[in-house]
């Protein structure tokens, strides 16, 4: 699913090398827990995998496509079509309703739009199905802006958004850091159910090692990143 080959990355030519990964793979359908202390390059890796930045050398391939060879536009399109992303917090466009936030990726990807419509009958019904799966039945019908939701609710809406239209790869960056333990457990449970059902690959970035036991594989960025 993911194949990294001999990449080096720095933010500009003067800056120190942040990532130097000779080789790293993730198989399709794997649920990977990626840990690392802050400053170890987790966010940079996320940017590389999603095609937001390019490495100085080496190649990154996702879902069989060598994304480091694509043009800027093609990478943006590739991300829209194949990758669902979710952050630590502030995942939602504040002025859109929860439902509109969930369907947002479908405005940028006809592939995900088609998939979502196929899965749920229509875009809106697929979005409310996902929200219901995230135990947000009451939120699906809310027409007010998303910023009125609680943080836990916002994270689950964001999860639904990353899942809509079944992208092959889901990357989540510390999605549970703002949640209490109970909400965190529930979140992971719900996320896993959907990811497994749709046979997606999941990269879960976190420094909360207690969560690692739920995953197929636990990777420490410090181990694969050979800087200095």
């Amino acid at each position: 699913m993911i194949e990294i080959c001999d990449i080096r990355f720095r933010w500009d030519s003067e800056a120190p090398v942040v990532l130097n990964i000779p080789s790293f793979q993730i198989l399709a359908g794997e649920l990977v827990f990626l840990e690392g202390p802050s400053g170890s390059g987790k966010t940079t890796l996320l940017n590389l995998l999603s095609g937001m930045v390019l490495p100085e050398q080496g190649s990154v391939s996702v879902n069989g496509e060598i994304i480091t060879r694509l043009t800027d536009g093609a990478r943006d399109r590739f991300r829209a079509d194949h990758i669902g992303v979710m952050f630590q917090m502030f995942n939602l466009i504040p002025y859109l309703s929860p439902l509109a936030n969930v369907t947002l990726p479908c405005s940028f990807s006809s592939r995900r739009s088609t998939m979502a419509a196929k899965n749920g009958g229509s875009l809106a019904s697929e979005a409310s199905r996902l929200l219901t799966r995230m135990q947000l039945d009451d939120v699906a019908t809310i027409n007010s802006p998303a910023y009125q939701l609680s943080i836990g609710q916002q994270q689950r809406v964001a999860a639904a958004r990353s899942l809509i239209g079944s992208p092959e790869l889901i990357i989540v960056d510390e999605p549970t850091s703002a949640l209490d333990n109970e909400a965190c457990q529930m979140f992971i449970k719900l996320l896993f159910e959907e990811v497994k059902k749709a046979e997606m690959t999941l990269i879960f970035i976190s420094h909360d090692t207690r969560l690692a036991e739920y995953f197929d594989r636990r990777i420490s960025l410090v181990d694969i990143n050979q800087i200095a």
């Binding site: 966010t43 996320l46 943006d76 939602l92 466009i93 940028f108 006809s110 958004r161």
Partner: protein
């Protein structure tokens, strides 16, 4: 592939604008006010010009004492300012008797009635004077003056002073609102009232040349001759041919002869005279006013610029708060130009709303104030659809809004490239 179509960007922009409705509304208001101001300035400019140009029609030459052509035009036709000198009746006779002259209207100014100017003329005035596109003067009631002490009022004079036919009125010497010596020994009678013309005629009291002579018969050098008083009845029996008049209008048999007549009148040997073509004098007047026009335009442009700056400030202020929003959009697959497009679209939407608001404001004001302006300033403002010129202004404004929107757009574009998918705090 451009899946993110223009429609969804506009949809996103609208929701984003609604989310900040107060700031957006203020920006829209600023643009609306500037649009209505620029339209008002343009309207007044065009209609004032048209109103001026419509005051005189079918007159080939205006003749007066030698001064400036604009001054001659202003005092003889628009009742603005005063003549420096009079011209002799004999000169007038000799020119109006020329073979190429079809008609002539003598004008004698210098007196007033309660702030309205009194003009001495002949009955030819009612027959030959034309305004607008060759329209004749029409009486609303009564008849043109017949007797020495008959007066024909312009529509506004009658309306303002509430004068009816046969009412008596006293004419004052000099021009102004009182404090002048009055010709109170020789009262006039309202013989007729003219229909509204939308020209200075409405604000004029017309009497016969004989009337002018009659009220000044016992005067000398602008004051009554002490100890000499001739009654109105006695005056009627005197020879009331004027010795001088202020100016006269000429209609020629052939318009082509105007230049020849002009040259000959300007070279008139017995007295220094000035003849002008009304169109040429009007053009000179426009040239004189062009500085003021340019200044007014410059001010409106600055106001429009201010409106756009207000909008730009609002868009830039929000830029930093919206970094996460941009990162989210990028994460779900938006291209940097989609992010930029969002800002440009917002600028365009605000401007369009401002233009619509401005037009509403302008037309509402036009409907509301049109009668008032006509009443007070005698300026008839027509309610018309925006002209091509107006539409061009709006087009420039829209172009300006695109430029204003591009500034935050470029910044957001760069920001979203350097932020990557995650906004680091």
């Amino acid at each position: 592939m451009k899946y993110m179509n223009v429609g969804s960007i506009i949809h996103l922009s609208i929701l984003s604008l609604l989310n900040r409705r107060l700031a957006v509304l203020l920006s829209i208001c600023a643009i609306a006010v500037s649009v209505s101001l620029i339209f008002t300035v343009e309207k007044l400019r065009q209609d004032a010009k048209r109103s001026f140009a419509d005051t005189i029609s079918d007159t080939d030459l205006i003749v007066g004492a030698r001064s400036g052509s604009v001054q001659l035009l202003l005092y003889s036709v628009f009742r603005i300012g005063n003549a420096t000198n009079n011209i002799s009746w004999r000169s007038y006779r000799s020119i109006s008797d020329r073979d190429d002259v079809l008609w002539s209207i003598p004008i004698s100014l210098g007196d007033s009635h309660r702030g309205f100017r009194v003009m001495g003329t002949t009955r030819d005035y009612f027959e030959y004077y034309r305004f607008g596109r060759g329209k004749m003067l029409e009486l609303d009631g009564g008849k043109p003056f017949d007797d020495v002490f008959d007066a024909v009022l312009g529509a506004e004079v009658a309306a303002d002073l509430g004068y009816k036919l046969d009412q008596r009125m006293i004419i004052a010497h000099g021009i102004g609102k009182g404090g002048f010596t009055k010709h109170d020994d020789k009262p006039f009678r309202v013989a007729g009232i003219l229909k509204r013309t939308g020209t200075p005629v409405d604000r004029t009291v017309h009497i016969s040349l004989a009337g002018i002579t009659a009220i000044h018969v016992d005067w000398k050098a602008g004051a009554p001759i002490p100890g000499m008083s001739i009654s109105a009845d006695a005056v009627r029996k005197m020879d009331l041919t004027p010795r001088s008049i202020t100016a006269f209008l000429l209609g020629l048999k052939s318009r082509l002869g105007a230049f020849k007549a002009l040259r000959e009148i300007n070279n008139f040997s017995k007295e220094p005279l000035l003849a002008v073509l009304p169109g040429v004098a009007l053009q000179e007047l426009w040239d004189l006013m062009s500085t003021a026009e340019t200044a007014l335009r410059a001010i409106s442009i600055v106001v429009v610029f201010g409106g756009l700056l207000g909008m730009l400030t609002m868009l830039l202020t929000n830029l930093n708060e919206r970094r996460r929003e941009m990162a989210i959009l990028r994460a779900v697959g938006a291209r940097p130009h989609h992010v930029a497009g969002l800002f440009v679209t917002e600028a365009i939407l605000i401007t369009i709303a401002g233009i619509v608001g401005g037009l509403c404001l302008f037309y509402a004001g036009l409907f509301l104030f049109q009668p008032v302006i006509e009443d007070i300033y005698g300026l008839f403002i027509s309610v018309t659809a925006p002209t091509v010129n107006d539409l061009m202004i709006l087009l420039y404004l829209l172009a300006g809004s695109v430029v204003a929107g591009l500034i935050p757009a470029v910044m957001a574009y760069r920001q979203s490239l350097s932020d990557g998918i995650i906004v680091r705090n």
